[in-house]
């Protein structure tokens, strides 16, 4: 017997389509090219960071320092630009700094056996502090327009901002890696039962180190996107982004306990959060209400799958009771 089961990540897709349709009806300002361009630009950094965060949370770890890592790579870009280093080299430095942020987290977790929650709460503050050490209270501006225009302009002949290219490339890599490769299967296996994964020969420590490094590197990529988009580097940039990234990963159906989740669920969730924010804003919902709505959505995303699970279990219990 074939049964259609409800999955939260399928629900997100339905929700996304519904929001888009409703949005097109309730406000004339929503369904047009320039607005879609704004929405994509708005969620660009979050998309890029949600991809590695999905791996990390499925594997049972977390990186709370991702917003500070973004800021530190942006600050490194700004700092090296301020000191006259060629701009292309500044970009490479920013990527390396992001990678280093992730590696440090990964080494502390895997080599010293520390909990990632505690480690990354520490590096959240540490990396942020380094942003201020690098830039002081002075943000860096007047970067070359040929680069920063990539952050605000669209791909010629389309309405799509340049960040779309990065989202498509890294989204595709993340998707195939998570669901169609050994690395992806290992990630799930480690998240479901780390002891069993060790016994079945999965190099757990190396895998986790790689996932942390990847997360840092993607924070570096997001840091460059962020720097271009705002045409500046500031020591207080991307404050609070870590919570938005983690929230959208959870909203996308990834279990905070690890072992469960899909890449497309997360990508759809980030998009949905951008779309719903846009619809609410364009219907003149106040910023205070926006906060309430985004918090409420996150609660629902955790509560509904749990409620379904509970009701299924009860049904199972009832049926097994009646058998005995």
């Amino acid at each position: 017997m074939k049964r259609v089961t409800f999955n939260w990540d399928k629900g997100i897709l339905v929700f996304l389509v519904l929001t888009t349709i409703v949005g097109s009806f309730v406000t004339p300002y929503f369904a047009n090219a320039s607005n879609f361009s704004f929405v994509i630009q708005d969620i660009g950094e979050f998309m890029l960071m949600a991809i590695p965060m999905t791996f990390l949370i499925i594997s049972g770890e977390i990186d709370l320092s991702i917003g500070s890592s973004l800021c530190l790579s942006s600050a490194a870009l700004g700092y090296s630009f301020r000191h006259g280093i060629p701009f292309w080299l500044c970009i490479i430095i920013a990527l390396l700094v992001g990678l280093a942020c992730g590696l440090i987290n990964g080494i502390l977790v895997t080599k010293f056996g520390l909990q990632s929650l505690a480690v990354t709460i520490g590096t959240l503050a540490l990396y942020r502090g380094l942003c201020f050490v690098l830039l002081g209270n002075q943000p860096v501006n007047q970067m070359p327009l040929s680069y920063t225009n990539l952050g605000s302009n669209s791909i010629p002949h389309t309405f799509l901002p340049y960040v779309t290219i990065l989202i498509v490339i890294f989204g595709a890599i993340g998707w195939t890696t998570l669901h169609y490769t050994r690395l992806g299967r290992w990630t799930f296996a480690v998240g479901i039962n780390v002891e069993a994964a060790k016994f079945s020969g999965i190099p757990v420590a190396r895998l986790k180190l790689a996932l942390f490094a990847m997360t840092g590197l993607m924070a570096g990529v997001a840091g460059i996107v962020y720097t271009f988009r705002f045409a500046s580097a500031s020591p207080d940039g991307a404050t609070g982004y870590e919570l938005s990234v983690i929230a959208s990963v959870l909203f996308g159906g990834v279990s905070i306990a690890g072992g469960v989740g899909t890449m497309w669920g997360v990508l759809a969730a980030v998009l949905e959060l951008g779309v719903i924010r846009s619809v609410l804003q364009l219907t003149n919902v106040s910023a205070n209400t926006l906060l309430v709505v985004s918090g409420g959505l996150l609660l629902l995303s955790v509560a509904i799958p749990r409620a379904i699970e509970l009701s299924r279990n009860r049904r199972k219990l009832v049926s097994s009771d009646s058998k005995s």
Partner: protein
Amino acid sequence: MQKRLTRVAIAIVAVAALAGTTATANAGSAGIKGGLKIAIMPKAVNNGYFTAWAKGGTTACKEIGARCTYLGPTTATGAAQVQFINQIIQQHYNVLVISAADQNAIVPALNKAKAAGITIVTSDADVDASAAASRVTAVLPASSTRIGTAEVDWIAAATGGKGSIAILSAAATAANQNAWIAAMGPYLTSKYPNMSWVGGTVDKSVFYGNDDATTSTQQFDAILAQYPNVAGIISPTTVGVLAAAQEKKAKSLTVAITGLGLPSQMGPYITDGTVLKVGLWNPIDLGYVAVYAAAEAASGTFKGTVGSTFYAGNTKKTKKTYTVTAGGITYLGDPFTFDKSNIATFAAIY
């Protein structure tokens, strides 16, 4: 189905357009286009100072027959503000009056808004000087010189124009405070011959409270310990002046105090005579004047070039002319003074 959708959309747009026409009918002042759609955007909402700022802006909107919306993020960051700038581009506003939460990060978004035909005026906080072209003008409280010299006048009024003076500032690196203090030094020497600085020169008479209540109180006590004959203390920061007033009252001291203070915080101390007068700019006026500047620019009667002028006010009596100075900056004028005569009114506002 597609056709019906289009028809619904057209109907919505038509209704919106009609609503626009009605607003145009009661256009206010001559020279300003009626029915302008104006966005007033603070660094962050839920802040009393910006609520007062927007109140002035909204009053101006009523006078000129514009439709005003007060909107902005809940956190004062450039990234959060950009989402709202994008919103007003989408909603085809004519005018944006904005207090820049980040002097750089909002610039690309402002340039987009400008390209979309939106007239932009910054107010309260400007964008970086390198991006001055993104807005018509910046309507700011007062020049550093005026803020510095006004504080010297207030302390002279409180001490009877004689005695030695010290300064309780914010952080040693605070750019605004340092600029104001630099203006105080020569002004006190030339205008008030019977007054002097406790340390001989103004630079040697500054104590730093770091905008922290406890540190400010400690530094206030340090001034009195080091210079028992100090006649007056100027604190050009809201944290410092409040700490000084509290300490003066607690210890029943005679030293005169003035500075830049929030009327709501300083109200009790002015009412009971602990402090004669403090000042700050009036955010209501700031928002009011900025909306006029922006509306005139949107109507083509004001260009924002250095030396060009615009007016604010809708009656002969209230009408005032403002001139754009170097860097495209328009100053409101003198900082606003609070004393017993007006403190109750403003304490209730911000």
